[in-house]
Symmetry: D2
Subunit: 145 residues, 4 copies
Amino acid sequence: MKPEAHRLTLETYPLTHTVPSRFQDLDPLGHINNVAIGAFYEEGRGNLNRKAFSLDLRKAHGMRMVIADVHIAYLDEAFYPSDLVVGSGILRIGGSSYTIAQGLFQDGRCIGTSEAVLVNTDGQKPAPIPEEGRKSLTALMIKTA
Amino acid sequence: MKPEAHRLTLETYPLTHTVPSRFQDLDPLGHINNVAIGAFYEEGRGNLNRKAFSLDLRKAHGMRMVIADVHIAYLDEAFYPSDLVVGSGILRIGGSSYTIAQGLFQDGRCIGTSEAVLVNTDGQKPAPIPEEGRKSLTALMIKTA
Amino acid sequence: MKPEAHRLTLETYPLTHTVPSRFQDLDPLGHINNVAIGAFYEEGRGNLNRKAFSLDLRKAHGMRMVIADVHIAYLDEAFYPSDLVVGSGILRIGGSSYTIAQGLFQDGRCIGTSEAVLVNTDGQKPAPIPEEGRKSLTALMIKTA
Amino acid sequence: MKPEAHRLTLETYPLTHTVPSRFQDLDPLGHINNVAIGAFYEEGRGNLNRKAFSLDLRKAHGMRMVIADVHIAYLDEAFYPSDLVVGSGILRIGGSSYTIAQGLFQDGRCIGTSEAVLVNTDGQKPAPIPEEGRKSLTALMIKTA
């Protein structure tokens, strides 16, 4: 369950996205709450999806991505009010689904890693990822070596 | 700005609604965060609106309520994991707007009070509150004496 | 990654905990947001921890549980304002860590499952789970057959 | 209850603070939720307090600010994923309390205004604002003409 070493380096991820922490993210232990951490990964995924699939592409294919599975490894505490930096990239591309790999960083420390499986749907059921989107995802594969 | 004495008593409010606190509501001071407190009042208002305006009435008139103004007085700290009890009633009924008065209670203590102005719209602009809805709101006026 | 069949039944879990949904949990797709779903599992884990470890036991050993790893499978949509019911139990007990298995249900449907690894610490570093706590966790093992 | 005209202009406020919106802030109506809006004002107040009261000053006097009263006027909808800009300044300085006036802006539009009464305490009861802090607050008064 321990993440591989390359996952702990920001350089691994083709996309980075900065999200300021909020006072509301804190819990009584004085660090950012475990559930609140989920929102930082979500912002990174949204940023990746906006970059990979243009609004035109989404509309043309009626694309609607749903999340099927999320795993988060908690490696270190995160604090307020520093920014968090989310690194995101693609780990795997299937027929209608793809896996986003992410690392979360604060002040140079790796706070945690996450993998999320997203499924492209037509709003009702799984649908193949359009060729143009597949190319975009391929260009965003994480560096594994 | 200090609330009137009758506003600090749960009996003042014709509707009560119980909302459990969540660990996520806490902040580093160990009490429920000021912004998170807003969600308890919101649940109380939603409950009042569902009771005052049936789904049929809403659909028939294309009713969509928007919030124009919220005031919250913070009187005491609230903790986890006890429930919070929201008392809600109507303070004022206008042509297209109405004011909800609320009190928030935990373990018998009054945590705070709130007043919120809601405006009925047709989805675009203010619209008169339908007669049937006006009757429902009138039946939910808070007791002031 | 697909959960085993017995994990989709509320009867599998020795503890159940009911958490009302909140309007704030909703996202623009009209269902409860993926990150917000994390809070329901968190409430279930807090409930289990309060049942397994008395305040006296925690104080005597300076116990502080930290979360190391969370996995969530999203199986169906959840809506507002219905309650969510979290089923929780123990999947595995190690020296200083233990795994909580959970199922999330709404109106009889299984919305998803989760596994979370918690580590007992003395506030600084991992510490053995006290014998009394180990007994409590053992009594809360999920039913696997 | 309608805010004065000068409150709708960012130039009125001596401090500005940018807070990105999050997907989680959205509600089923597709705009940023009314309660979530409270978090943007909170970030602006935190920023003002950090600028007005140094950590040394806070420690020397055991200062702990608590919120007594918040008013929010909702003037327009806010959307995702644009940033929100919070303008903050001081409206009034009392013996132990002070009022922060704020305006919230997105893409040049004023989304709303807020006033919050904060009370300086020694952790238990109201305490006079130290002279050095009083000077800092005075330097942050909003422009009213």
